[in-house]
């Protein structure tokens, strides 16, 4: 990038060949008291959340709420337009009835939920986030290809340029680098 990256160490990155190796390393580091770890992998690795002590996603609740909102909106729309705004006699049917409101209620429920799910995903992940310091790391590209990266945040109390690097190498990191930004 033309404009200078502020040369402040943001963290350290270890590069592992397999998910298993990565998991072992994470367990080891956490055992050593590291708390601010992250893993960058080309595909979801099972057991990763447990390893990093992440609590399960709350996305479900958001979606559920949105779904209910969708249903309510649909029913309200159909009832208000049909029975309040301009009640017309159509086909000898009542201005509003649940029977013929079901399909659209269902559709809107799904629609709202789906939007909630996607927006939720983005928000919870803080996306879009076009820039992230770790992207400055030379090995970053591997994370979307075939490498399994372990990232130690510089803010981690246990973080130490030499020791942490040592440790990572010891745990089988094939490449260890500090990234700034």
């Amino acid at each position: 990038m033309p404009e200078a990256v502020s040369h402040k160490v943001q963290g350290m990155l270890g590069d592992f060949p397999t998910p298993e190796a990565l998991l072992d390393a994470i367990h080891a580091l956490r055992a050593k008291g590291y708390s601010r770890l992250d893993a960058l992998t080309p595909f979801p690795v099972h057991g990763m959340e447990e390893a990093l002590g992440e609590n399960p996603s709350r996305l479900g609740y958001i979606v559920a709420a949105a779904g209910l909102a969708g249903a309510a909106a649909a029913l309200l729309l159909q009832w208000w337009t049909g029975a309040v705004a301009y009640p017309l006699v159509i086909g000898g049917k009542p201005p509003f009835a649940f029977e013929f409101s079901i399909p659209i209620t269902f559709e809107l429920t799904v629609l709202f939920s789906a939007f909630a799910a996607v927006l939720g995903l983005l928000v919870l992940n803080g996306l879009p986030e076009l820039y992230h310091p770790v992207m400055n790391a030379s090995r970053f590209a591997g994370a979307t290809d075939d490498r399994f990266l372990l990232v130690v945040d510089a803010a981690d109390p246990a973080f130490h340029l030499e020791h942490t690097a040592e440790l990572l190498r010891a745990l089988g990191s094939e490449h260890t680098e500090v990234f700034e930004g």
Partner: protein, 460 residues
Amino acid sequence: MADLAIRPQDMQQELNPPLVTGGLSYRDITEKVSGICESKTPRSWYIAIGVTGSLTAVLGLMLAYLVANGIGVWGNNSPVGWAWDITNFVFWIGIGHAGTLISAILFLFRQRWRTSINRAAEAMTLFAVACAGIFPLFHVGRPWRAYWLFPVPNTDLNMWQNFRSPLLWDVFAVSTYATVSALFWYVGLLPDLATLRDRARSKLRQWVFGFLSLGWRGSARHWKHYEAAYLILAGLSTPLVLSVHTIVSFDFAVSVIPGWHTTIFPPYFVAGAIFSGFAMVITLMVIARQVLRLENLITLKHLDNMCKIILATGSIVGYSYAVEFFTAFFSGNPYERFTFLNRATGPYAWAVWTMFTCNVFAPQLFWFKKIRTSVPAMFAISIVVNIGMWFERFVIIVTSLHRDYLPASWGYFRPTVVDVLTFTGSIGLFLTLFLLFARFLPIIAVSEVKSVLHAQNAGH
């Protein structure tokens, strides 16, 4: 008798052949798939899109001509108010079912083999739905008023929609389906877009994929919410995909016209949709597989499975046809009886028998593993099925309308050139979109295949 003995590993091979063959590594997969859209555009692609592109242009012309002159440029008449227009609509919507089905339902059923085909199938879904959308929009007499189909606030008229109308349900169902499928597809694309971003050499590609991938890093947190979101979307899409064709079938089932007014339509239509959808997936994937040399990712096992699904749904469809006839006669309702008699023996009998041959008899060939695993054979059959399914819709719509209650009002429908060219054009649009997709986006879900490979290597 020794040679008859079956060795366990053969058995293993037989029952559960690997989904990724050729001993590919993660890197290889990345290379293979990303390579496709990074390599220099082949001549053949230009030729292909040249053809499909001009067909799309024809579509544009036909629609312009239609809007300028009115529905009369089609063959529709009284009593046949709907003909090719809605036939094409239902046809395309049907095609558009396989994608979401593969990505959602097979996902919920933990069918790992879906991974190498779901991306393309989802894309296909989107394009099919796009084509489908054209017809309900342009089949109306005054398309410039089509926005009245949506509950847009109107301070001048104070007029709203009629929520009793299946057609309105349809509007909501189809637009919801289109939106959700698009979201689903995009979410699935995110990690692979990131891959492309990180492999990108040119600034342009870096920027484009950089933006599209929204800064995906594949961090543990990303994956956590990603999996949650994917699961939820799959959970939502499953009933959705079923509801769409159910509601499309309501357009007919809720009416009073003999041949339309029947309760078996929803399951029957959904089965038919999956049937035609998978047929189209095969048609496209077989070509893609050949052209892009993806045999190791789209293995015979994938194709074999899809053929099995076609066989299953095809049989359901056949059963539905039988049931339709049975109920018609069992009901004792003279109008129903006549309608079905008229289908089988009336002026449109040719269409009906085409439908039977293509949809009921052809797929039965898939009982034979030889055919299920012969690429040319399944390609041929998949085409046949597509034709058959178009005719199914034609038969349901036109033969029911052209002779209903009062013989004095009976008529006959003949398509016009415009009818034919409009449909052809929509095929052009569909293929064009697919070609663009195949050229610029990863047509296989890279990250998913990798996890499958991982699982496969890990031996579970």
